[in-house]
C-alpha cells in the first residue's frame, strides 16, 4: 500500500467540470500506484483569514466525499486566529472520519507561542500536524516565517507527544540541514519525502540520520519526482514498507 502523506486538492472549481483538476491528480496516483493521498486545500490568499481557511476546509471535505477512499484530509488553519482555528479543526474532524489531521503553512513559525493552542488541540485529539517547511539561504524574504527542522525540533522538546510531520524534505531547501536538524527531535516527529527535488541520496540520508520509522512517502503534487525518487532510493524491504504506508497508518491509528 502506498500513501502520499502530503498532497493538495483544488476543487470544486467553477465551470462545467468542478473536479477536473483533482481527477487529473487521481489519474496520476493510479499511474504510479498511489492508493491514498492525504490532501489539504490551500486555495486562498495567505496569510489566510478565518473565512479563507474555512472555505478551503469546506472544499477539502467536499473532496473527501467526491473521492471517497482515495483522499484523506488535513484541515488547514492559520494559528493566528486561535478561536476560529480551533473551531474549524474540531468541525472538520467531526464532519468526516477521513479528515485525519491538521495542516499548517507559513503564517507563523511552528515554534511561535501563538501556535501552542493548535498544537495542544492536536495532542488532545491525537492527530498529526503536517507543517510546511524549508530551510534556504536565498529568497528568505518571500516566506519570512517558514518553519524548518530546527523549529519543529524546538517544539517537540516542549511537546514531545505532538505528532508533527516536517513537510517536503525535497521541497527545495537544504535537505541535509533539515534532516540533521530533526535528528534529535522527539520520536513522534517525522518528515515527508515530497517535493520536486530529486537529489540522489536524499532518502537514504534521511534513513541514516532520522531512521526509517519517522519517514513518510509523499509527492506534494510532484508525482513523478516523488514516486521516482522513492523507486530509486536503496533501502530494505522492511524500511520501504514502513515509509510507503506503515508509518503513516501507525501515526493515524489505521490499518491497511
Amino acid at each position: 500500500m502506498l500513501i502520499d502523506a502530503h498532497a493538495h486538492c483544488r476543487g470544486p472549481l467553477e465551470g462545467d467540470d468542478p473536479w477536473a483538476q483533482d481527477r487529473l491528480f487521481v489519474e496520476a496516483m493510479d499511474a504510479v500506484g498511489i492508493d491514498i493521498a492525504v490532501v489539504s486545500n490551500l486555495s486562498t490568499p495567505r496569510p489566510a483569514t478565518p473565512e479563507g481557511f474555512q472555505k478551503c476546509n469546506r472544499d477539502m471535505l467536499s473532496a473527501l466525499k467526491e473521492f471517497r477512499g482515495r483522499f484523506w484530509g488535513y484541515a488547514y488553519v492559520n494559528s493566528g486566529y486561535t478561536k476560529e482555528a480551533l473551531a474549524d479543526i474540531e468541525r472538520c474532524l467531526e464532519a468526516d472520519e477521513d479528515c485525519i489531521g491538521v495542516k499548517l503553512y507559513n503564517e507563523y513559525f511552528i515554534s511561535d507561542p501563538v501556535v501552542r493552542p493548535v498544537i495542544e488541540k492536536c495532542i488532545e485529539l491525537d492527530v498529526p500536524i503536517l507543517q510546511h517547511a524549508g530551510h534556504s539561504q536565498v529568497n528568505t524574504s518571500s516566506q519570512p516565517f517558514i518553519s524548518d527542522g530546527g523549529h519543529v525540533t524546538k517544539v517537540s522538546r516542549e511537546y514531545p507527544e505532538a505528532k508533527i510531520i516536517c513537510g517536503h524534505l525535497g521541497g527545495g531547501g537544504d535537505w541535509e540541514w533539515a534532516i540533521k536538524a530533526l535528528r534529535d527531535s522527539s520520536p513522534s516527529v517525522g518528515a515527508d519525502t515530497s517535493g520536486s527535488v530529486t537529489d540522489e541520496g536524499l532518502i537514504e540520508y534521511a534513513i541514516e540520520v532520522m531512521g526509517a520509522d519517522r519517514l513518510y512517502f509523499a509527492c506534494d503534487m510532484s508525482v513523478t519526482a516523488g514516486a521516482g525518487k522513492f523507486m530509486s532510493a536503496k533501502m530494505s524491504d522492511d524500511d520501504r514498507g514502513k515509509i510507503a504506508s506503515g508509518n503513516f497508518l501507525r501515526l493515524v491509528g489505521r490499518e491497511a
Binding site: S196, T224, K229
Partner: protein, 259 residues
C-alpha cells in the same frame, strides 16, 4: 530500445557529497537502470577556476568506459586560453560537445563571450549544452549565487547560431517561453532534455513533443546528482507513441552526436 542519457556527470560537486560519481560506479548505476550510454561532464570543472583541469580528470576517469560514456568538456570563455581547451576537448578527449555555465562563470547568456564560444563550437562541429539550472536555486550554497537562466535568453542565443546544435538540460517552464511560443519561427537547432518536464498535471513533455517534434526531445536523468527514477517514470507515462519514445530514449541523441 537503446537508452542514451544526455544528462550525466562525474566527479565532485562543491556543495554536497555526490555518490556513484566515479566512472565504474556510474556505469553500475546505469546498468541497474537499463541505461546504455550517457553524456558525461565534470562536476568539479564547473567550480574550478581553471575548468580544463576538470576536463583532464574526466578524460582519465572514463578511459576504461569509452563505450558507455561520451565526454562533454566544460568550457569557460571568460578564462584564459579557452580556445586551446576547446581544441583539446575536441582532439584529445574526443568530446562530442561542450557544456557552458554562464551562471557559474560570471557572464551572461547573451554576452559577447557566449557568442564567441558558440561560434567556435560551430566551427568545430561541437554541440553546445546549457543548463537552465544545475541545482534547485532554493538549495543554493551560501557562498554561490547562481539563479536559473532565463529560457528566453537561451532561445535568443540558439536563434543567433542556427548552425550550432544546442542541448538544453534541466529545463522547465518551456510552455511560457519563446521555445514554444515562437516554435514556428525559431530555428530547429535546440534539443530539450526531459528530467524536469511534467507528464501528468502540467503535461509539459507532451507539449514539447507536440510543438517541437519528438525529434527535438531528449531523455536525461541528471545521474548521479539526481535519482534516475523520475525521468524513467516520465518516459513510461508520457502520452506519445512507442516510436516517439524510441527516438527520445536514444535515437535522437545518437543521431545528433554521430555516436
Amino acid at each position: 530500445m537503446m537508452i542514451f542519457d544526455s544528462n550525466a556527470y562525474l566527479g565532485h560537486w562543491f556543495a554536497r557529497q555526490i555518490r556513484h560519481n566515479t566512472a565504474p560506479e556510474l556505469v553500475a548505476l546505469m546498468d541497474e537502470n537499463g541505461i546504455d550510454k550517457a553524456c558525461v561532464g565534470s562536476l568539479a570543472a564547473i567550480m574550478y577556476r581553471n575548468s580544463q583541469r576538470g576536463n583532464e580528470e574526466l578524460l582519465r576517469e572514463i578511459a576504461d568506459h569509452r563505450d558507455r560514456l561520451v565526454p562533454f568538456g566544460v568550457i569557460n570563455p571568460a578564462y584564459a586560453d579557452w580556445e586551446h581547451d576547446l581544441d583539446w576537448c575536441l582532439n584529445e578527449m574526443g568530446a562530442k560537445g561542450i557544456r557552458m555555465y554562464p551562471q557559474y562563470h560570471g557572464y551572461k547568456v547573451l554576452d559577447p563571450l557566449a557568442h564567441e564560444l558558440c561560434q567556435a563550437c560551430g566551427e568545430r562541429g561541437l554541440a553546445v549544452t546549457l543548463l537552465h539550472r544545475q541545482v534547485d536555486y532554493r538549495q543554493s550554497h551560501w557562498m554561490v549565487d547562481a539563479p536559473d537562466l532565463a529560457l528566453d535568453d537561451i532561445a535568443q542565443l540558439c536563434s543567433e547560431h542556427p548552425d550550432v546544435n544546442f542541448i538544453i538540460l534541466e529545463g522547465a517552464g518551456f510552455a511560457g517561453s519563446r521555445f514554444i511560443k515562437e516554435a514556428e519561427t525559431l530555428p530547429g537547432n535546440s534539443y530539450i532534455e526531459i528530467s524536469r518536464s511534467s507528464v501528468f498535471m502540467g503535461k509539459e513533455m507532451k507539449t514539447l513533443i507536440d510543438t517541437l517534434g519528438a525529434e527535438r526531445v531528449l531523455f536525461g536523468t541528471g545521474i548521479p546528482m539526481k535519482y534516475p527514477g523520475p525521468a524513467l517514470l516520465k518516459m513510461q507515462h508520457v502520452e506519445t507513441s512507442k516510436q516517439n519514445k524510441k527516438k527520445i530514449f536514444g535515437e535522437n541523441l545518437a543521431k545528433l552526436l554521430g555516436v
